[in-house]
């Protein structure tokens, strides 16, 4: 009874088939619609070539992709392209320091400046090992001394703004940014937009649960490094481009002008938050795509003694006359 009812209601769906008696609610069904496209702003391969694969704090002049896929060269994003080329500053997102618990790696902020390539401000810091650019936190200014430690303390630490700690040693409720997804030096990071900050929710064994600005919770390794504080330039939303032309100068193009029906990605949705997502091991890169060209014979899909001359299929045979 329930099964037939549920089958009629599109909002409810029964697992596997209607005959089984397990009811599953699929509230977020159907698919949510079109996702925003990748922006493809800069050619990272070119960046690697120009910097020699190593970090440099010097401004670089890298190629812009203009919304084109770096592999295929095809236009992916209609709304990116053109504009003025700005110098690119490489940002060091992975601040790691000594893990002995006594010493810290200290750096002095030399300069905080805006970066046309990203929303939040960037800070040039110098230490024993050299200079690097990092994302500037809200109150960071030239002359500040910031420190980094990779030591996992037993008692929760109340972090100082601008300092970097492993997330496992920070007290719950601390605002953090530039959070590594995995405790590696090449992982991507969470929270890099202007004015954004994540919160540490709780610690669970080897993992720490972090609440990101969009309120989703992620469970990350406690060794992942993060910088304490909110990111700078929070008032970027109050600033205005002024004109569509100014948008174009920055390389953002207008929408096409053609009417597009709005789909499930638009509008306000009230949904339950997804469960805490645990990031345990970094994802392995997908296998490289292979390209084959099959001959007509191979395309026929016939093997062994079934593999005959392709004309046979069209009525030709070794017979002299049709049967």
């Amino acid at each position: 009874m329930i099964g037939t009812l549920a089958c009629e209601m599109s909002a409810l769906r029964l697992a596997t088939s209607c005959s089984s008696k397990i009811l599953i609610s699929t509230r977020n069904f159907p698919a949510r619609g079109t996702k925003p496209l990748p922006r493809h702003l800069w050619d990272m391969k070119d960046l690697e070539e120009k910097s020699g694969g190593e970090y440099t704090h010097k401004p670089l002049r890298i190629n812009k992709l203009g919304g084109r896929d770096p592999e295929t060269g095809r236009k992916v994003n209609q709304h990116i392209g053109g504009g003025v080329k700005f110098d690119y500053f490489m940002i060091d997102f992975h601040r790691r320091g000594p893990s002995d618990g006594i010493s810290t790696y200290d750096e002095r902020v030399l300069e905080v400046r805006r970066d046309p390539n990203r929303t939040c401000h960037i800070a040039l810091v110098a230490g024993i090992e050299g200079k690097r650019w990092i994302l500037a936190t809200e109150n960071m200014k030239a002359g500040d001394i910031i420190s980094t430690t990779s030591h996992l303390s037993e008692n929760p630490v109340i972090g100082v703004e601008g300092n970097a700690y492993p997330i496992g040693s920070l007290a719950a409720g601390t605002l953090i940014n530039s959070i590594e997804r995995y405790p590696t030096n090449d992982s991507e990071i969470f929270v890099q937009a202007a004015g954004a900050a994540a919160t540490i929710v709780r610690h669970q064994g080897d993992f720490t649960v972090v609440k990101l600005p969009h309120k989703h919770e992620f469970s990350l390794h406690r060794n992942c490094m993060a910088t304490v504080g909110r990111l700078s330039h929070a008032d970027i939303d109050n600033k205005i481009y002024g004109s569509a032309q100014m948008h174009r100068r920055f390389g953002y193009k207008m929408s096409s002008g053609l009417f597009h029906k709005k789909d499930g990605y638009f509008g306000r949705k009230i949904r339950a938050l997804p469960p805490v997502r645990q990031l345990d091991t970094p994802p392995t890169p997908p296998p490289p795509t292979q390209k084959f060209t099959l001959s007509k014979k191979e395309l026929s899909g016939l093997h062994g003694h079934a593999k005959v001359h392709n004309l046979l299929a069209h009525g030709y045979s070794t017979r002299d006359y049709p049967q």
Partner: protein, 420 residues
């Protein structure tokens, strides 16, 4: 479905094509798990080739040939470099005035082991007060570079930080460095003439233009493993056969007082982060007229500020201190000398954007920064003092604005002043 062996396909319509295409496409989209080389085979350490490659054998050979050739070539280059009789296997820190010093004057003073005194000594300024050079002459000296020079070279692209999207027309004219060099040339000539006129200078100066300067230093706290190479190409290297021009400004008591002062602490910055690191071949002193019986009076040069990333006054001054230090060390170690007999003083003048950086570097010791040796050098500086207000490179200067004769007097005092 019944197995039909030789049955011809009766009709193949476009719908079938679409269906098959979709099937093939979806099959292609399905990701196969990546092939993992079994651990046992990996442990053997054999080279593994891609079996699906139709050109597997040909490519194997080809790659081997190319790889071996490339390896051979690279090896030969490295060998040739390393077999060069002058090749130094230890990398050296190189200062060429390209990267600004992160911590400015404090860093330069730590590197040169010197105590910084702001402003030239009163007695020096007083000693040259009777030398008269009128404003008209200085104006002409500046206008020679800024207005009358007929060079028509293509000037760099103009960058406007506000209207950043505007492409300005490229203008032709005298490059900024050349303008500044001409101005320095003229100012120096006026100063030398005035010195000879008033008998402040006993002998004429020997001037070399754009000659390279390079000194090699090692030891101390920071350059024990990797030596320091200070390089520069000052536009004017002013020398004289009179040994009195390098006589020190600070006497013994002043030196003793300076020795008691601590060097600046620039923690957490390391003073060596702004140097390049590279292998060098020549660790000899590079100085014009190095074998002559002459002494460096001063070095004068100019810089062009980057349109986007201009150096601060501090960074300009740090550059001036290090270059003057290089000249002082060159003076002390010319003719193969390794020890400093008596303190000597070398002057440095840097012209950036109409502002002068004046340095008088008194070298008391050749030792680099370390804890044991308490002897320190003394450096008098005048940081970024405005001589005149320059126009941007794309505009023509018609007349000198905001000419500051006080600055010029300080320049004269630096060049001609002496302690009696």
């Amino acid at each position: 479905m019944v197995f039909r062996k030789y049955r011809a396909v009766k009709q193949w319509g476009k719908m079938d094509t679409r269906i098959f295409k979709e099937i093939y496409n979806s099959r292609n989209k399905r990701k196969m798990p990546a092939f993992q080389v079994p651990e046992a085979i990996e442990a053997l350490g054999v080279k593994i080739f891609e079996a699906n490659d139709p050109m597997i054998f040909a490519r194997q050979q080809q790659r081997n040939i190319i790889e071996t050739a490339a390896n051979d070539y690279n090896q030969r280059i490295v060998q040739n470099e390393q077999q060069h009789p002058l090749f130094k296997s230890n990398k050296a820190y190189i200062f060429e005035g390209e990267e600004p010093m992160s911590d400015g004057i404090a860093q330069a003073s730590l590197l040169t082991k010197s105590i910084v005194r702001n402003g030239l000594p009163e007695s020096i300024i007083h000693s040259s007060s009777k030398i008269e050079i009128d404003e008209e002459t200085v104006c002409d000296a500046i206008l020679h570079g800024e207005r009358y020079d007929p060079t028509l070279e293509k000037l760099p692209k103009r960058f406007d930080p506000v209207l950043f999207w505007v492409k300005h027309i490229r203008v032709h004219g005298t490059p900024v460095v050349k303008r500044n060099n001409i101005i320095l040339d003229n100012l120096l000539r006026q100063v030398v003439f005035a010195g000879l006129r008033t008998n402040t200078l006993k002998t004429n100066m020997q001037i070399n233009r754009d000659s390279p300067l390079s000194v090699h230093l090692s030891g101390g706290l920071y350059f024990y493993d990797n030596p320091l190479v200070l390089r520069g190409q000052p536009h004017l290297t002013v020398q004289s056969s009179d040994s009195n021009i390098t006589s020190a400004w600070a006497g013994k008591s002043d030196i003793d007082a300076a020795n008691q002062e601590p060097l600046p602490d620039i923690y957490p910055i390391s003073p060596i982060i702004d140097f390049n690191k590279d292998n060098i071949y020549n660790d000899d002193l590079l100085l014009t007229r190095k074998t002559h019986q002459s002494h460096i009076h001063s070095v004068l040069w100019s810089r062009e500020q980057d349109q986007k990333y201009a150096w601060t006054k501090e960074q300009n001054m740090a550059n001036a201190i290090l270059t003057t230090y290089a000249a002082a060390v060159a003076e002390a170690t010319r003719n193969g000398q390794t020890e400093l007999e008596k303190p000597l003083l070398v002057r440095g003048v840097q012209l950036v954007d109409g502002r002068l950086d004046l340095v008088a570097f008194q070298l008391n010791t050749l030792e680099l920064t370390e804890e044991e040796n308490p002897v320190k050098n003394i450096v008098w500086i005048e940081k970024g003092i405005e001589l005149y207000k320059p126009k941007p490179f794309y505009e023509q200067m018609e007349q000198v604005e905001k000419l500051n004769m006080e600055t010029f007097k300080k320049f004269v005092a630096l060049m001609l002043g002496h302690i009696h």
